[in-house]
């Protein structure tokens, strides 16, 4: 990181996804100084990796990019990317976060984001930003709209051939750059650590049948659908064939006390419907089926979105489907109990099957020992009705998927709420909490 960044702030926001950025922007607009700590090389979180968003079907990047840009240009916001979070402790009334800045192996102050290093690099690595479906280089800019637009070198794959350093016009490549540990402090803390997908569910639930290339996760489908995705069109990963039939398995790990988690992941119904709609746009002849237990289209305009999808001919099958194998054409075999028709169990194959995997907390445990998690592992809200953003620690707030699965709309609203609670806390703190 740049050595001259400040280390003392009014508020520390942990997590640079849409929730963290929104909270940071609201606070910075109120005149508070804010640090945003992000584990990835870019801010933007899950949202910047999505294709389009429900129920408006507008482009995720077009909504996220302005917020990312606003945060990165705001004089009141300092970004710390590639930072692993150590302990957060309360010291002399301040919340102090120990950070480990992983080496970018590129000098942040010198890099101009020109990608010469990337073009020069001879090493190809599966690009996780594209669900591993295409390759990137060992030194690269994470993705086209990454912020900051700075290269990062992946030391696990770098062959130390020296080409990137040679072609870099500013001499920014630094193979020997060490990890740097440092501490930042704030008067308040917002935990916006988001979620991750339960990627080990398929193996647990389907066993050997889970190991097939055309059985993919919902985030992989997002990449396939994104205009700047791996193939720029929807092709199935196994053989590059255009799928004629695509299915979605809902509650893949959610509402499942045996193989997953007991709670509802809340967004999967809607994103599956959205993906189905986008698919029927790009593959008008394809059959699209959603296997579900309950369709939970509960938000504003969500039900109408669901009814539109039905009217478009997307098939909704009330059943939890089981993945049982792979057919000779590379399709995924499913079995389900067709209860609504009363016709009993059916076996069906789809060229491509998407699992709407459950959401898990982005952090395995809350980053501050005194902050409690609920039985579901997400950060516990101590006042879920009046102030859902309050945690068990004074001065520590939460928003978005850090406090339970949540869609983007609810996350952004909660981010505003958490920012407001933090600003009130800071205002009282300034007055010695007299008015509390």
């Amino acid at each position: 990181m740049s050595m001259n960044k400040p280390t003392q702030f009014d508020v520390l926001v942990l997590g640079g996804g849409i929730g963290g950025l929104q909270a940071a922007l609201e606070l910075a607009e109120q005149g508070f100084s804010v640090a945003v700590v992000e584990r990835d090389a870019s801010i933007g979180g899950k949202m910047i990796r999505l294709s389009k968003v429900f129920p408006t079907l507008d482009c995720a990047s077009c909504i996220t990019t302005p917020k990312m840009a606003a945060a990165s240009h705001h004089p009141g916001i300092t970004l710390f990317t590639l930072c692993e979070l150590g302990k957060v402790e309360r010291k002399e009334g301040l919340l102090s976060a120990r950070l480990v800045q992983l080496p970018r192996h590129v000098d942040e102050d010198k890099c101009i984001g020109c990608r010469q290093c990337e073009y020069g690099c001879p090493v190809y690595v599966p690009d996780q930003e594209q669900a591993g479906l295409t390759a990137r280089k060992a030194i690269y800019i994470p993705f086209s709209n990454a912020i900051p637009q700075l290269a990062v070198l992946d030391p696990d794959n770098c062959s130390l051939c020296g080409r990137c350093a040679k072609v870099c016009p500013t001499g920014a490549v630094d193979y020997a750059q060490p990890a740097r540990e440092f501490t930042i402090t704030g008067r308040a803390l917002i935990l916006a650590t988001g979620f991750k997908l339960m990627t080990d569910y398929p193996e647990r639930a389907y066993g050997p049948a889970s190991r097939q290339p055309n059985l993919i996760t919902s985030l992989e489908m997002e990449r396939l659908l994104a205009p700047h995705g791996p193939y720029m069109r929807v092709l199935r990963p196994g053989d590059g064939k255009e799928p004629d039939s695509v299915a979605f398995i809902q509650c893949a790990g959610s509402r499942d006390i045996n193989k997953g988690v007991s709670y509802c992941s809340r967004v999967c119904c809607m994103y599956a419907i959205k993906q189905a709609m986008l698919l029927s746009g790009s593959l008008p002849l394809a059959d699209i089926t959603i296997y579900y237990i309950d369709i939970r289209a509960f938000g504003k305009n969500y039900e109408q979105f669901f009814q539109n999808a039905k009217a478009m001919g997307i098939e909704f099958v009330k059943a939890k489907a089981m993945v049982v194998g792979q057919n000779a054409e590379g399709g995924v075999d499913l079995v389900y109990d067709d209860m609504e028709s009363g016709e009993g169990a059916k076996r069906r194959s789809h060229d491509l099957v998407v699992m709407s995997l459950a959401m898990l907390p982005g952090c395995d445990s809350p980053p501050m020992a005194e902050v409690l998690a609920g039985p579901d592992g997400f950060i516990k809200s101590v006042s879920p009705k009046l102030a859902p953003g309050l945690t068990s620690q004074e001065g520590v707030f939460t928003c978005g998927a850090a406090a339970g699965p949540k869609d983007i709309v609810d996350t952004i609203v909660e981010a505003g709420h958490a920012a407001q609670e933090a600003s009130i806390y800071l205002a009282f703190q300034g007055k010695g909490r007299a008015a509390a």
Binding site: G207, N258, A319, K320, M322, V324, M339, A345
Partner: protein, 380 residues
Amino acid sequence: MAQTPFMEVNQAIAQGGGGDLNACVQCGLCSAVCPWREVEGEFLSRLMIRQGQLGLEGYESDEVLFGCTTCKKCVLNCPRGVDIIGVMRAMRSLSVEAGGVPETLKAVLGSAHANGNPWSEPREKRMEWARGLEVPAFGPDKEYLLFLCCTSCYDQRSQGIARSLVKLLNRAGVSYGVLGPEQNCCGESVRKIGDEALFQKLAGGNVKLFNAHDVRKIIVTSPHCLETFSAEYSELGGEYEVVHASQLLAGLYREGRLPLLGRTRGKVAYHDPCYLGRHGGVFEQPRQALAACGAQVLEMNRSREFSLCCGGGGGRLWMETPAEKRFSLLRVREAAEVGAEVLATACPYCVSLLEDSRKTAGLEDLKVMDICELLAQDLS
């Protein structure tokens, strides 16, 4: 004609051991994972539960009400953790109480009632399998009671398992003994068939007998005995440490007490019995035991908790299943497909059904063997 839900039936199922009935969310995953899907069977657990929830008729045919093999695959997959086997058992109970038992099972229950075994064999012949072998009687000086499944006692093919096990125990110097013909069938299948009263009688008799002999530890050849002794006998006052032969043998080998040569050649596929694997949670020890005798252990596509049921649980062992609808037929073919020369398993029911299907399939080059048999062959 509209039907009216009959909630008394729902309540009777719930009270008869199917307490999870109403917890079912009707997702149908149980129907989807059920082995009957492999052979287009009629039985649909989700539908049967639904009918049970509403107290409606429609599940009374033998192939539906007595379709469940209690393989537990659905239970392990059920998103609501419903004890589906308990619900099936309770629903059968209602029918059995009213005399609704499939013909083939009537004989089984009758024999179990009269002879203490389901095989219509005289009680006093229970120990005939041991003829010519040195089998100690159980007494206070013995660590383990060796309890043999009725099938191992009476069925000729299965007796080989018992005899092999005894050889192994003797060579390893295990302190064990057997009890006489007063032993009953463990009652596991009887209970799953739905004859709760008979189960109480059989199990009650065993508990009384075991407790009278101060039995603490039991070796079993059948995973079905394993399940019922360890999970169900405590209801009747029987608390035992139960070990399946394959577990014990793996342990003995590890301790260096089994003088195996490791000479077994050839490829051995291991079939996880439902009651050892999914019910008992025993997956590794049978494989360790197989590896100990030198076999090259192969995995079939569906193994461990994904294993395919042989079709013998829940009373199905005694029911007629047309050849093309037998899970065991699929299983032996699967073993042949992976190139196995031996299909090894660790349950008398599995051995019996797999052996039958091996013949049906005409797989001359495949042998079906119990782990005890493979290990006994490899003794020095």
